[in-house]
């Protein structure tokens, strides 16, 4: 199926789209029997250095309910200067500007290679980028110092006209006014009291036009001179001021008694940040960046009380319904997230603490608004520092790799409807002819809002084939989907990126082989995983696992080749062969397993899983393991306990962690110091090789993974041991009679056992209905 692989790869490169099925079953009934839904992973802003944006606006279908954008799939009558919409078949006049159009003089959007095209909208004043720092001051001194330095550093990375604002919080919340000379001024709010946006704006004096308590400000003719400028100022104006202000930031001055947590008003601080932007810059791209060093301990959104003797909730507590504050806090943050999303702003959370910081409750803030979530142990670690720095990385054009306030609209041809999307988005609740009644993920709409996105942000979009079985699609018919993404580019331009894709319809009865061959098992695994994780947010863990199992079994039943009741006869074709293995690892992954993870960690992992592209997602599901030895060049090896050998160095990439593991012998050699002896330079090289490779991964990834260097018997080796397939455990060690590899102390089933069971179930008649 090399051709399909190429095709898939090509499409991904060009359009940032990967479908689970690349040939579509032509009827609803058949489609449902395919088990894996027709869906795609869409990376709306996939970096396309080769795609210069066009400097005009798109041509829209004139039918009010359609408004599809002119694309290469449209039929064009060059003579009549007409084009037919390929979604609704409306015939449209070209606008006057297209008068010169002909077969040889086509606009870019009609050329097939421009199935993805980006328009720059010239209308409207460009709105500046806004960065609102929300900084926790209940930190240890060195943490605070490190954070201050990071923040000061970030100022230098911002474009000079970007607006910045600063809110600090501890027991109180302070909104700093950045425009004053002399005295630095801030508005202070009680950390225990939730305020409505209106109240916040009243108290900040934002409701009235300039009521300056500040020194002489002769009415400046500039646009919005007064109101917003007090708290959000162009960086070039207040650079020094803000740097000093950050420099003078004190730790929260309120005493923290023995045995108490500092009072941290994260909930109110966020609420004020949201309210501030809501009042001043609605629908303008803005990032609220929350830096917090611990859990919210008071006010709305508190996650844990200030008594240290009461630990923060664990999964165990949650299962026992013993997490007092969780529901209320979650509600608070959800409310904030929804408001933020409605205003087109996004919230990042940078949480650095050894204990949990309440990400579980706060997760919706980044999840719904497309913000980042970063979790670290301290602000004084390179993990945070570099991750934070990477946010401000620039693309080949020198623009930030971030975009704001995007709306994604999906249009489908008649045989298809949109069932939903899973990713860092919220529904815009736009009903339309192409909206399915069944929901998968966030559904019931054909438009979503993604308040913050970057070139890797990827959504899973699920479709439903609605063509009835008795209305066959003519041979060679193609279904089309158009993705329209409006967004604010980091250069402050408004842009529209349009991707139009089409796939062949196939009749399942007659062309199952084609369909099978066009199955993209990687995409399918990720899309199913997203569905599973999405469910896991609301359902009990075991239920989700059971659902996943059933889906897998049904898929095997549908596409496996076997004799009834004969597990040994079971075979899967190449295009499906890896899928069960993905599912096996997915079942063991932290996305679905909460054992050994704190609720915060689970939230963190899930957050990233829901927004990364296919490659990264796959790494998350099934970490990659490389082996380094004297026997040859580094090679990928099975993620299996049998790969853990004494004379190997292993490099595992789980996306969140990079683990370098020295085998027993290697570790002994290193301890003996061979690497320092000139005659063992090759050993030194061997030790160095994985480090270099790890470095390469670290350089590229966001967020920066936790870097772990360990060895046989090291405590940190658990990161590796918990991931590998436990093919050798203390239970079967002797049964296998092998001496290689390392036994894993676990009762988890191994891949082998899993596959055996799967085969048995797949070939059995008993079928559970799902």
């Amino acid at each position: 199926m090399a051709t399909y692989l190429e095709f898939i790869q090509q499409n991904e490169e060009r359009d940032g789209v990967r479908f689970s099925w690349n040939v579509w079953p032509s009827s609803r009934l058949e489609a449902t029997r395919m088990v894996v839904p027709l869906a795609c992973l869409l990376t709306p802003l996939k970096e396309r250095p080769d795609l210069p944006p066009v400097q005009y606006e798109p041509v829209l279908c004139s039918r009010p309910t359609c408004k599809a954008i002119l694309n290469p799939l449209c039929q064009v009558d060059y003579r009549a200067k007409l084009w037919a919409c390929n979604f609704c078949f409306q015939r449209n006049q070209f606008p006057p500007a297209y008068a010169g159009i002909s077969e040889v003089n086509q606009p870019a959007e009609l050329m097939p290679q421009f199935s993805t095209i980006e328009y720059v909208i010239q209308r409207g004043a460009p709105s500046p980028l806004i960065f609102l720092y929300v900084v926790d001051t209940c930190l240890e001194d060195d943490d605070l110092q490190a954070l201050k330095e990071s923040l000061q550093m970030s100022l230098s990375l911002l474009p000079p006209d970007a607006l910045v604002g600063l809110i600090t919080f501890g027991r109180m919340v302070q909104v700093h006014e950045l425009s004053c000379e002399g005295i630095s001024k801030s508005y202070v709010f009680r950390g225990t009291k939730d305020l409505t946006a209106k109240q916040i704006q009243d108290m900040l004096g934002l409701t009235k036009p300039a009521m300056p308590v500040q020194p002489m400000r002769p009415a400046q003719p500039q646009e919005r001179p007064s109101v917003s400028s007090r708290f959000l100022q162009p960086i070039h104006k207040i650079d020094m001021n803000l740097t000093d202000l950050l420099g003078e930031l004190q730790r929260d001055p309120w005493p923290v008694p023995q045995g108490k947590r500092p009072l941290r008003s994260t909930g109110v601080a966020l609420s004020i940040a949201v309210g501030l932007l809501e009042g001043t810059f609605p629908n303008t791209g803005a990032r609220i960046m929350l830096f917090t060093g611990g859990p919210p301990t008071q006010g709305p959104g508190m996650v844990v009380g200030d008594e240290l003797k009461v630990p923060i909730r664990s999964w165990h507590d949650i299962e026992k319904d013993n997490a007092r504050f969780m529901k209320k806090a979650t509600k608070h943050y959800e409310m904030l997230a929804n408001r933020t999303a409605a205003n087109g702003h996004c919230i990042d959370i940078y949480a650095c603490a050894l204990d949990q910081t309440g990400l579980l409750e706060m997760k919706c803030c980044p999840n719904l608004t497309g913000g980042y979530m970063v979790m670290g142990d301290s602000f004084n670690t390179s993990l945070f520092k570099q991750t934070f720095q990477r946010i401000f990385s620039k693309d080949f054009n020198g623009n930030f790799r971030m975009a704001f306030g995007a709306t994604l609209e999906v249009k489908t041809s008649r045989e298809l409807k949109v069932a939903g999307a899973i990713g860092p988005c919220v529904s815009l609740n736009v009903k339309g002819p192409c909206v399915s009644e069944n929901e998968l993920g966030v559904g019931g709409t054909s438009q979503w809002k993604i308040c913050g996105l970057d070139p890797t942000t990827t959504l899973g979009i699920y479709f439903e084939v609605v063509n009835q079985h008795n209305a066959p699609i003519p041979q060679g018919g193609r279904g089309a989907i158009q993705f329209v993404t409006h967004y604010q580019h980091s250069s402050t331009q408004r842009r529209i990126r349009v991707t139009t894709v089409a796939r062949n319809w196939a009749d399942v009865q007659s062309q199952l082989k084609h369909i099978e061959a066009a199955f993209d098992q990687e995409a399918a695994a990720v899309l199913m995983a997203r569905l599973g994780v999405f469910r896991a947010e609301t359902e009990e863990g075991p239920d989700v696992l059971r659902w996943l199992d059933r889906q897998l079994i049904r898929l095997c039943q549908k596409f496996g080749q076997y004799n009834k009741e004969d597990p040994m006869s079971f075979r899967l074709s190449d295009s499906f062969s890896l899928y069960p293995q993905f599912m096996f690892h997915l079942r063991r992954s932290p996305f679905l397993q909460v054992f050994n993870n704190s609720p915060d960690e689970s939230s963190y992992y899930r957050h990233h899983f829901a927004r990364q592209d296919l490659t990264q997602s796959l790494i998350m599901i099934q970490p990659i393991l490389y082996s380094y030895s004297f026997h040859g060049p580094p090679e990928p090896v099975l993620l299996d306990s049998s790969s853990i050998l004494a004379d190997r160095i292993l490099l595992m990439d789980t996306f969140f962690q990079i683990v370098i593991y020295l085998g027993e012998t290697i570790a002994q050699w290193r301890k003996a110091g061979y690497q320092d002896m000139p005659e063992y330079e090759n050993f030194k090289h061997l030790l160095q090789a994985p480090l270099d490779d790890a470095q390469e991964i670290l350089q590229a990834r966001f967020p920066m993974p936790r870097y772990i260097h360990t060895e046989h018997g090291g405590s940190q080796a658990r990161f590796l041991l918990s991931k590998v397939n436990p093919s050798q455990t203390h239970n079967n060690l002797y049964a296998w009679g092998q001496e290689t590899g390392a036994p894993i102390l676990t009762d988890d089933v191994s891949l082998q056992v899993f596959m055996d069971h799967l085969k048995k179930l797949a070939v059995s008649k008993i079928m559970c209905s799902c």
Binding site: M172, Y187, R190, D202, V213
Partner: protein
């Protein structure tokens, strides 16, 4: 009175004016008039004679005296001076004479004696011979009278009155109505007119009628004066009481006389004729007056004077008059005429000035030694030293009586309130040592196990010193071993004199941790300056001024003992409708401002860096104070909040876990949306209705609640108000009031005019030593109990006075009631214990002990009373009463109580005498005049120009005044500046606060503790004007001037020196106002001449005395 000339416009003034003309006239035609008068009156005289007999001098005085007698003795001089004055400005003799007269009195005790009777018991006796000598006040009175006597004037007045009243009664109706109405107007014209010309005619006409009318005039005035009095007076009033009066009048004659006296002497003859003229003027229509005068004339030459002056006021006096009267009965029969005629001589009635002067002379020279139980201390107006020998100094505690009835029946009978005015942290003169601090170590101060009284000199050690018996509850307690000491042969501990708590009336204990909040030693207190930066505050220049001042003022925070720098930390807040806190931590390069706009739910945004040590954060603070005026220079915010500001300060102290004081500088009614928001509810229509009390009540309970929280935190609030309009002082002052703070009010603040006053007050307020987070408890011997408390504090139960802050000016008045019998042998003991935190954060107990006598005879009670203290109590009682009762009720209650007190005395203690005699106990002879002042005060009887805020302001001020302050507040000091030789550096003797005492050729200073006026007579010598004001003539003096130019001459230095020393005596800076005679500001000034009838309806002294007498008589009958 001298003033009269220009006065016309103002009614009150009008009266005085008449006097003038009267004089002149009198001088001219006076004699004739007088002559004429006599005859008509003849009849009167008849009765009068009776008087005269007794006080023949009086008679002689009246008429003759005016002419001759006076001349002979005192008058001689008087006359001269008087003349001199006349000559110059036409100024009346009145003032000058008045002064002289007073002096004279001294010389001529006897003459006075007769008069004296009126007043004091002794008087009764004295009238004739003895009185003068009698120790009792009467003597003074006598003196007064004498002066009066000396001055022929008085008689004149008497006459005038007599006649007027009589007339009034007779013809009354017409003159009255007409006259009154016309008063002001009428008067004016007359004055203006050539006296002779116009007057004569009038006289002619009125004479007879006038004779009647005058009375009428008298009558009418009366009414105007005091509501109650009028009726009585006009009708029977005069008649009834008059009888007595009548009798008295003759001697007095004075009333007018007093004023006139001076002049009368000389002019008398003239007057008589002229007088008529006067009277005309006075009445406005005074024709009648003259009539009487003329009549008078005959009887008393002085009559003329009467007419001129007081025509009106006098009428009343007659009734009460002391004239103890023999004549009274007859008079009664005689009716109106006679009665009326007999005017009370103002100089014959008890004079506060005289009393004060005498006390000064008698008691000022020797130290007051407190060793003896139940000793009445010198008056507050006397300078004396105190030697503590076991009882608290009167500077700390003064009682209404130093001899307490043994039983509650007696107490009820006497109606004399038993109260102590306590000023626990009073400042002492440098010669007196402040209380010793006693440290009883870890076990804390030694106390009675049962009643918890602290060890004091009255505790009895028994069983060889192993035990002591509590002097309050008689419980026997063990003496702890470490405190044991042997007793000497008298049963006294051998170490009694080594231990302050065994030998002194006042001392302090160091408190142990048990006496501290939360069982933690306190942290030194903090001061928080909270500055209104709204538009008004910025525009008036207040903010800039204040910030500038604070920079230096912060170096003078109170410190304890020899401490090098104050332990007090400071913090700053500015606000309009939001609050700005400042972080002034020393490590900052620049202050940081933190705005809290959530005024609905106030909190303190920062802890570290808000309250700082001044010297450490000096640079940052200076920078802040420099920047505040700049930052808000362009503010347009006019709305302010108030309650949240207080709350913020309180929360800040709470967060810092210390006590402290907030200095609030506030400009306007807090109308911004916030807790404690107020609306403008100023409604003058409520005055004199049942709802008037609402003007004194706070608008909402929110402030009380807030105040309670403040008290709990030991947060004292001082409020500086700078209103341009109504700010609802009644509500805003609730918090300062309940937290032991002070309120200062600077209406229409302008930096140029008010800066000195404000800064001076501020400096004093910031620098004064304060105790924080205090609790005061007053323990008493079994038998009496503290039942009521007045002052600036909060009480959560019935015994503990909680004071968030207490400074050396704050006073608590405590009332006691019997709950059992006391016995004479043991007396009654008071122990006031004040637990407080000092400026340095030390927890201490200050103990004051005072032993009083107990009596079974009411006479003992009356002999040991202190009127000043009584007035202090009564004023506070009344001022609290207005919160819950209509003002009229409150006034009536006061009058009734006073009448009962005096009636009880009369009934039980005075020697038998005619019912017509008004007999006052020596110690209380000033009670009527002082009480009248209280009744006339702004709170109880507001004039048209007094704002609701002013009333509320005064009301709360008085609540924590001490005795000295209430004394001068209600009876202002009026000091003639140009009477005594310039070289004389001592403070000139005061004169009575009456217009009659003013001479238009002189300059006077008047002060009442809050206000300071420099009154310039219209005829003051140019030289004096030049040397004082640096301008060449009277007309060039700027009216309302508040600063005297610094000129290098004796007079200027002396006057400025005097002003400075007056200011130094008072706890608040008194802004000087220069008032020119006949200027419109004079209205304001005259308000403080409390012996006169006031514009707002307050009775004159004489009128009130009459009324009082009537009341007493009613009670007695």
């Amino acid at each position: 009175m001298n003033v009269n000339q220009s006065a016309p416009p103002v009614p009150p003034f009008g009266q005085p004016q008449p006097v003038y003309p009267g004089y002149h006239q009198s001088s001219y035609g006076g004699q004739p008039g007088s002559t004429a008068a006599p005859t008509p009156y003849g009849a009167y005289n008849g009765p009068v004679p009776g008087y005269q007999q007794t006080p023949p001098p009086g008679v002689s005085r009246a008429p003759a005296s005016s002419g001759a007698p006076p001349a002979s003795t005192a008058q001689g001089p008087c006359g001269q001076t008087a003349y001199g004055q006349f000559g110059q400005g036409d100024v009346q003799n009145g003032p000058s004479s008045g002064v002289q007269m007073q002096r004279l009195p001294g010389s001529q005790p006897f003459a006075s004696a007769p008069l004296a009777p009126v007043v004091s018991q002794p008087a009764v006796l004295q009238p004739y011979g003895p009185p003068p000598t009698s120790a009792q006040v009467t003597a003074q009175l006598a003196g007064m009278q004498i002066s009066g006597a000396v001055a022929p004037a008085p008689p004149a007045s008497g006459l005038g009155y007599g006649s007027p009243t009589s007339l009034a009664s007779a013809s009354g109706s017409f003159p009255n109505s007409g006259l009154y109405g016309s008063y002001p107007q009428g008067q004016a014209p007359p004055l203006g007119q050539g006296h002779p010309g116009a007057q004569p005619p009038q006289r002619s006409v009125p004479p007879q009628a006038s004779s009647f009318t005058p009375p009428a005039s008298g009558g009418p005035r009366m009414p105007s004066m005091t509501g109650p009095l009028l009726p009585g007076q006009s009708f029977g009033g005069p008649p009834v009481s008059q009888p007595n009066h009548v009798s008295s009048p003759p001697p007095q004659a004075l009333p007018p006389g007093t004023q006139m006296t001076g002049p009368p002497g000389p002019p008398p003859p003239m007057h008589s004729s002229q007088q008529p003229g006067y009277q005309l003027q006075q009445n406005g229509s005074f024709g009648p007056a003259r009539g009487p005068q003329s009549n008078y004339g005959s009887p008393y030459p002085g009559a003329a004077t009467f007419g001129s002056q007081p025509g009106p006021p006098q009428p009343l006096p007659p009734k009460r008059l002391d004239p103890d009267a023999i004549p009274s009965p007859q008079l009664n029969e005689l009716p109106p005429q006679q009665k009326t005629r007999h005017r009370i001589d103002p100089d014959a009635i008890p004079s506060p000035i005289q009393v004060i002067e005498d006390d000064r002379n008698n008691r000022g020279s020797e130290p007051f030694v407190t060793g003896v139980r139940g000793q009445v201390p010198p008056l507050v107006t006397t300078n004396f030293l105190v030697k503590d020998q076991g009882n608290a100094s009167p500077r700390y505690i003064r009682c209404t009586s130093y001899n307490i009835p043994c039983t509650s029946d007696m107490a009820k009978q006497a109606q004399v309130p038993l109260a102590a005015v306590i000023k626990p942290l009073a400042r002492l003169p440098p010669e007196e040592a402040s209380p010793y601090v006693v440290d009883h170590g870890e076990s804390g101060p030694l106390r009675c196990n049962r009643c918890k009284a602290y060890m004091c000199p009255f505790m009895q050690f028994v069983e060889g010193g192993r035990r002591f018996q509590c002097c309050f509850c008689s419980c026997i307690n063990d003496v702890p071993p470490q405190y044991f000491q042997h007793l000497d042969h008298t049963g006294k501990r051998v170490d009694a004199y080594d231990r302050p708590e065994l030998s002194l009336g006042s001392y302090e204990f160091l408190a142990t941790v048990d006496y501290c909040k939360n069982n933690k030693f306190p942290i030194p207190p903090a001061f928080i300056f909270m500055i209104d930066v709204s538009y008004n505050a910025v525009r008036s220049g207040l903010v800039r001024l204040l910030c500038e001042e604070l920079k230096s003022l912060l170096d003078f925070l109170p410190r304890e003992g020899g401490a090098e720098e104050s332990a007090i930390r400071v913090g700053f807040v500015t606000y309009n409708k939001v609050l700005h806190f400042y972080n002034v931590k020393s490590s900052l390069a620049q202050p940081q401002m933190m705005v809290v706009s959530d005024v609905g739910d106030m909190f303190v945004p920062l802890l570290d860096g808000f309250l700082v040590n001044v010297s450490e954060s000096r640079a940052v603070i200076t920078s802040l104070l420099d920047q505040i005026p700049e930052m808000f220079a362009d503010t347009r915010e006019t709305e302010t909040v108030f309650a949240p500001v207080v709350q913020a300060g309180m929360e800040a102290l709470k967060a810092a876990e210390c006590a402290g004081k907030l200095f609030l500088f506030h400009t306007s009614l807090p109308i911004a949306e916030a807790p404690g928001k107020l609306k403008n509810r100023d409604d003058r229509k409520l005055i004199n209705t049942d709802k008037e009390k609402t003007l004194f009540q706070p608008q909402s309970g929110a402030y009380q609640t807030l105040a309670k929280e403040c008290v709990a935190q030991g947060c004292c609030v001082d409020l500086f108000l700078f209103p341009n309009q109504y700010v609802d002082v009644a509500t805003l002052s609730v918090v300062p009031q309940l937290t032991g703070g002070s309120v200062y009010k600077y209406a229409c603040f302008q930096v140029e005019n008010d800066q000195e006053r404000f800064l001076s007050d501020l400096r004093r307020d910031v620098q004064k030593v304060v105790g924080f987070d205090a609790v005061m408890r007053v323990r008493t011997s079994t038998g009496i109990r503290a039942v009521d408390f007045f002052g600036a504090f909060y009480m959560s139960n019935t015994t503990d006075v909680e004071l968030a802050g207490l400074d050396g000016d704050k006073t608590v008045t405590v009332e006691f009631k019997h709950d059992d019998r006391l016995n004479e042998e043991n007396g009654a003991l008071l122990q006031c214990a004040l637990l407080y935190t000092s400026c340095a954060g030390q927890r201490r107990l200050r103990i004051h002990n005072l032993a009083l006598n107990c009596c079974t005879q009411l006479a003992d009670l009356y002999r040991n009373c202190e009127t000043d203290t009584l007035i202090n109590y009564m004023a506070k009682f009344a001022y609290r009463g207005v919160l819950s009762s209509p003002v009229k009720t409150v006034r009536d209650t006061l009058i009734t109580q006073c009448a009962q007190i005096l009636a009880c005395y009369r009934k039980n203690c005075a020697s038998p005498s005619s019912a017509g005699q008004l007999i006052l106990p020596e110690c209380m002879k000033l009670l009527p005049v002082y009480l009248n002042c209280v009744l006339k005060s702004e709170v109880l009887q507001p004039g048209a120009e007094v704002t609701t805020d002013d009333r509320a302001y005064v009301r709360q001020l008085v609540t924590s005044m001490d005795v000295a302050e209430t004394n001068v507040f209600f009876y202002p000091r009026l000091l003639p500046l140009t009477k005594s030789p310039i070289e004389n550096t001592t403070e000139p003797p005061a004169v009575r606060a009456s217009e009659e005492r003013l001479s238009n050729g002189d300059i006077y200073l008047l002060e009442n503790g809050l206000n300071l006026f420099l009154w310039v007579g219209a005829s003051v010598q140019q030289g004096v004007v030049q040397s004082l004001f640096g301008v060449s003539s009277f007309s060039q003096i700027t009216s309302g001037l508040s600063v005297l130019p610094v000129l290098d001459n004796l007079l200027s230095k002396k006057v400025r020196g005097l002003i400075d020393s007056l200011r130094a005596q008072r706890s608040r800076y008194m802004k000087l106002i220069v008032v020119k005679q006949e200027d419109k500001l004079e209205m304001l000034f005259k308000h403080f001449l409390v012996e006169d009838k006031s514009l707002s309806g307050g009775a004159s002294y004489v009128d009130f005395l009459c009324h009082m007498h009537k009341e007493i008589r009613q009670l007695l009958s």
